[in-house]
Amino acid sequence: MRLLLVEDDPMVGESIRDGLGQEGYTVDWVRDGKGAETALGAEPYAAVLLDLGLPRMDGLDVLRAARAQRNDVPILVITARDAVADRIKGLDAGADDYLVKPFDLDELAARVRALVRRAEGRAEPVVRHGPIALDPATRAVTLRGHPVELSGREFALLQALLARPGAVLSRAQLEERLYGWDEEVGSNAVEVHIHNLRRKLGADTIRNVRGVGYTIPAQ
């Protein structure tokens, strides 16, 4: 799952990127408002972590611009501005959640999960589809109650397909959701992960729509 992190402080940015990376997220990190605007226009992110005090363009302006362009990506504001008035301003400008520095890494991850869950239209934290159950918090997948060992990429791929069962995602779309900017993507990387998932979860779990992409059929 790919996240956009907008944070101008090198140490904080690096820590969040590493911490969320450990949670299995792919994190793109930009350090100013202009960069955030560009990235938001170009890539599909599962969620955005947005600092407010940014060089070149204030975080609130980034927020308003994104909403003005009908970009409904979940946005979590992370900032040192802790006054109630600031929080209200942030939420009213279009933020989905507001987290004040300093914060706990686990809390940040939990809030990201909640944002993604709500964006996918689910209330239950565990994603269930037929015999498959996927828990984003523990990153555990079970098939008919039995644990299934998945690699980070396989987990992310399954999560992306389970987010909207029935929708067909092209290889390019899956790559966009899985890989950050600085990652090299092998030409058949997605095919390899799909193959592994079918082997572990059953051959007909993921269907190939020829010339379009992959889907997990709706039930």
Partner: protein, 435 residues
């Protein structure tokens, strides 16, 4: 006596009393002289009338009557000195040596005496001087008594007048005591007499300056707290990453970053403290002559290891005698910040040059580098606290140049930022009034 009113009251009443006493004394002396002349003339008339009309007819002289102390004493003696007539036979007065007026002391009392010759007989008319003293004292007392009598009334009136006169002061005192420690609004200055106005104006000036200082402090504290959040966030996150680390290598890497974070937070706190100490109200160090050339060499020597680690060529390429009157610690902080900044923003292989020299009436400190410099449009803003040039990836607090500015202000110095070495980088120039 601390009450202005009591002090004024006592002084005013004292002055009135003193004036009364002086006036009474003057009256006493002038009355004494006048009464003396009057009674002398009376005695002379008595003596002459005795000589002209009653010579020898002693039998017609009745013994004196009336107040014995005021009585005029008459004595008539024959040429041998034998008393022919004594109006007061109990204590006969002695004979005067010469005719005319004389003042004699007889049996402890002073007498004024007039002596006239009437043929063979001598006529003496005398009167105790106490009569004159009493009359003069009575006159003086008549003046003093009314003054003493009206003194309580005067005191009451003066008290009332002072009370009214001091009302504006009392009003100011009430206004001052009624305000809370946080209220620094100016005191009302209308309808104040000219004597109180300067006091209130001075108080209002002080309140204004205090208000500015408080506002500055509050903003500083808020800024500082806000700025400390970011390094604290980094620390909190790095601790969690270190806790989660699965391998020793990961843990070591996290701990190294954690250490870096602590260093950064420490530096921020140190800079905040330095700024707080540089507040004009807090500056206690007396000013002393500071040799800028020696300071430049000392600071450069101190930072040489930092420069060598990068590596950046750090050199003092001009150190000419130039002395200013200032706070050496603060000036060292200023130069250290400038050189440290230059070293931070100059990439490896670059140059940083430090200069100290004198130009006209000014002593100049310069730090020039060939690093990335500061865009001309941002040069005015970099002195703001916590301001950082956009796109800066060098860690920093945004306080270094703010401290430089503060020290410069403390020394009434100017700071200029211009292009650096070879048309690149930055030159920071501090122009101080030379000693």
């Amino acid at each position: 006596m601390s009450s202005l009113r009591t002090r004024l009251l006592v002084a005013l009443l004292g002055a009135v009393l003193l004036a009364g006493v002086v006036a009474s004394a003057a009256t006493y002396y002038s009355a004494r002289a006048e009464i003396g002349a009057l009674l002398d003339e009376e005695m002379r008339q008595v003596a002459l009338s005795l000589r002209d009309h009653a010579v020898l007819d002693v039998s017609r002289l009745a013994p004196g009557n009336g107040d014995p102390s005021q009585r005029v004493v008459v004595q008539i003696r024959d040429p041998r000195g034998v008393a022919v007539y004594l109006s007061n036979a109990a204590t006969p007065l002695p004979l005067a040596r010469t005719p005319g007026f004389a003042t004699i002391t007889h049996e402890g009392r002073q007498w004024r005496m007039f002596t006239a010759r009437s043929g063979p007989q001598t006529i003496q008319v005398a009167q105790s001087t106490a009569v004159r003293t009493e009359l003069a004292a009575a006159a003086a007392l008549r003046l003093l008594v009314p003054i003493l009598a009206v003194l309580p009334l005067l005191a009451f009136l003066v008290w009332l007048i002072l009370d009214r006169g001091l009302t504006p002061l009392a009003r100011v005192a009430r206004a001052v005591s009624a305000r809370s420690s946080s209220s620094l609004d100016p005191l009302p200055a209308e309808r104040l007499p000219g004597e109180v106005r300067p006091l209130v104006d001075a108080l209002n000036g002080l309140l204004g300056r205090l208000g500015d200082a408080f506002a500055l402090q509050r903003r500083f504290a808020a800024d500082a707290a806000h700025e400390l959040r970011t390094p604290l966030t980094a620390l909190a996150l790095q601790i969690q990453l270190a806790e989660r680390a699965q391998t020793d290598a990961d843990r070591a890497a996290s701990l190294a970053k954690l250490k870096e974070g602590v260093k950064r937070a420490t530096r921020l706190v140190q800079q905040l403290l330095a700024m707080a100490r540089l507040e004009p109200e807090a500056a206690e160090t007396p000013l002393a002559p500071v040799a800028l050339d020696a300071l430049a060499q000392s600071v450069a020597a101190e930072l040489t290891p930092v420069a060598a680690a990068k590596p950046v060529a750090l050199a003092v390429d001009r150190a000419e005698p130039s002395t200013v009157t200032g706070n050496e610690e603060a000036l060292r902080l200023l130069l250290t910040n400038l050189v440290d900044n230059a070293l931070r923003y100059t990439p490896a292989g670059g140059r940083v040059e430090v200069r100290a020299f004198r130009r006209g009436a000014e002593a100049v400190l310069e730090v020039a580098d060939d690093g990335r410099g500061i865009p001309a449009a941002e040069r005015a803003r970099v002195f703001d606290r916590f301001y950082r040039v956009a796109g800066t990836d060098v860690p920093g607090s945004g306080l270094g140049l703010a401290i430089v500015k503060q020290v410069a202000d403390l020394h009434r110095a100017r700071v200029e930022l211009t292009d650096g070495l070879d048309g690149r980088g930055l030159t920071a120039r501090v122009l101080l009034p030379a000693a």
